[in-house]
């Protein structure tokens, strides 16, 4: 969606690297194919879930599907990491270099700001995930032990890595995975926020309420989003002080999140938007409130709750606002309308 709309919104002819754009797109399709293929292997698809904690994901005999199925899963995620990084680099480059005359940073539509922030996060965290996937692959096939402790006993078979001098820790995977896994929530949600605020402004025929504040909170959410991966690991065996630190950053991100919520409410209230668009606000309020709940006194709540928030929110703006008998195409139409309107405002 970003690749389709961003050039139009910044007055560019096309993305900065059109071929790279195509490569990233088709690699994503390939990653999906490989992922689906994993379910058709002997033993079936991998069973270690989307977090794939080792040693369950590192040792083929730990369960059915942990042999070829797990390898294909890793391959698929690896391809997806490359595709996402390429796409994000293209997006950042396009936004920096391909803006039309007069499209200054302070005139960019908020959708562009949110895709810009999400793309910066993507380049940072998908490269870490890619490294983790490669390391896990090495543990599985090249005899390394980044994530497998010495003398791990799985299904009656002893994995003695001590002769290679390796005493790995599953916690290393948790850190690397959640350093990706948490910002991923914001990569998914920030564009939705940008689209929501632009739509509200557009259909109430007013300027975006708190435009500059919205940019600041978007960037603040992106930055803080990088600092709270540990709230998925409160009970994983970290130093309890680390738990406190991550609880503090988790509470801190609630402040710009609440700020965005208030700005959207401002869009809705001060600008008297049509009431049906306020549905999206409800979803954002859920997201903000949810964040307040993942604090330190409630260890373990984070994992499951985080997922649901992501689904609730991503689903909402598209399904309840545009899902009323219309298909995906009009959504693009709406956003393009926003861009035209916004340029009129900018001019």
């Amino acid at each position: 969606l970003g690749n389709l709309i961003v050039p139009a919104q910044i007055g560019a002819q096309r993305m900065a690297f059109p071929r790279l754009n195509a490569v990233a797109f088709w690699l994503t399709a390939l990653a999906l194919m490989v992922l689906l293929l994993a379910t058709f292997t002997p033993g079936g698809g991998p069973i270690s879930g989307w977090t794939s904690y080792p040693p369950l994901s590192a040792i083929a005999s730990a369960g059915p599907g942990q042999a070829l199925g797990m390898d294909l899963w890793l391959l698929s995620i690896g391809i997806f990491c490359i595709a996402s990084t390429l796409g994000a680099v293209n997006m950042v480059t396009t936004i920096i270099t391909a803006r039309c005359e007069g499209m200054t940073w302070e005139r960019l539509p908020l959708t562009v700001w949110s895709w810009f922030t999400a793309s910066l996060l993507t380049t940072l965290v998908f490269s870490v995930l890619f490294a983790a996937v490669v390391m896990l692959f090495c543990d599985r096939h090249l005899g390394t032990s980044f994530f497998i402790p010495t003398s791990d006993l799985v299904n009656g078979v002893l994995y003695n890595n001590s002769k290679n001098g390796g005493d790995g820790s599953p916690l290393l995977w948790l850190h690397l995975f959640w350093f990706f896994g948490h910002p991923e929530v914001y990569i998914a949600v920030l564009p939705g926020m940008g689209i929501t605020s632009m739509l509200l402004a557009n259909f109430s025929r007013r300027r975006v309420f708190g435009y500059r504040l919205m940019i600041i909170t978007t960037l603040a959410i992106g930055f803080l989003g990088l600092l709270l991966w540990g709230h998925h690991m409160y009970v994983a065996g970290l130093n309890p002080w680390a738990g406190s630190a991550f609880a503090a950053t988790t509470m801190a991100i609630a402040i710009p999140s609440a700020g965005q919520g208030a700005e959207l409410a401002g869009n809705g209230v001060a600008q008297q938007a049509p009431i049906r668009y306020t549905h999206a606000l409800v979803a954002w309020l859920c997201f903000t409130l949810h964040h307040r709940r993942t604090d330190g006194a409630n260890p373990g709540a984070a994992d499951s709750g985080q997922l649901s928030a992501q689904y609730v929110f991503c689903g909402r703006p598209f399904s309840s606002d545009y899902g009323d008998g219309r298909n995906f195409q009009p959504v693009c139409g709406h956003v393009l309308l926003v861009s035209a309107d916004d340029r009129a405002i900018a001019e």
Binding site: S48, P149, S151, V235, Q272
Partner: protein, 250 residues
Amino acid sequence: MLTLLALLTSQPITPFFWWLPADAARHGHALDHHLILNLWIALALLLLAHIILFAGLWLRRGQLIRNPWKLELPVLLVLSVLFAWFAVRAESLWELERYQGADAGAMQVEVTGVQFAWYFRYPGEDARFGETRPELVEPGAGNPLGINPADPHGADDFVSSVLVLPVGREVDLRLRALDVMHGFFVPAMRLKQDAVPGMTLHIHFTPEKVGEYPILCSQICGLGHYRMQATMRVVTPEEFERWVRAHERR
């Protein structure tokens, strides 16, 4: 709606499955209180936000707010103070549970997770655990944890599949995992801690009510993850003595 449902969990009578299980640990009450307070505040904020939203949509026709900072800053200041207060409150509970270890007189039990069972090892009369070695693990021969027979401390260790604890005495659990990560989760004791291969992690608590409580695995660990359950039986000190005498190896 979910918030409303969760609020009902403050009731001690729990005929519905989504309510919190009755708390049976000494530290649990403060945690529950914090959680319920959290939900009340969240509900109040949600209602307040919607009252403002709908009031603005239906009632107000007139001047626009030009300066967003005027609207934003007071809201954010109030929320920041609220969040900070709540974070400090939460961390004080976390500190009590996690910053300090168990009391020196706490009872020691070792919990080992293995696909797909929990084993509980008691140190016996010498109050010291014997050495374990993964290469000695042989469940079929009655040594599921690989206790080294050469170590005298291990001679009186005994292993149970039920975690039996005396009521009112602090327990220091040492958590281990032989194969993959497992999650030691006792909802009634408000306890959750992962068991990580290669690490020994401690968690301490005091059971306060006699009864039987489910122990679950909260970290996906393979095909049998769903059935990796055990029972915690909290009994009177006298009954605990009887149970230990019946199981002790000499």
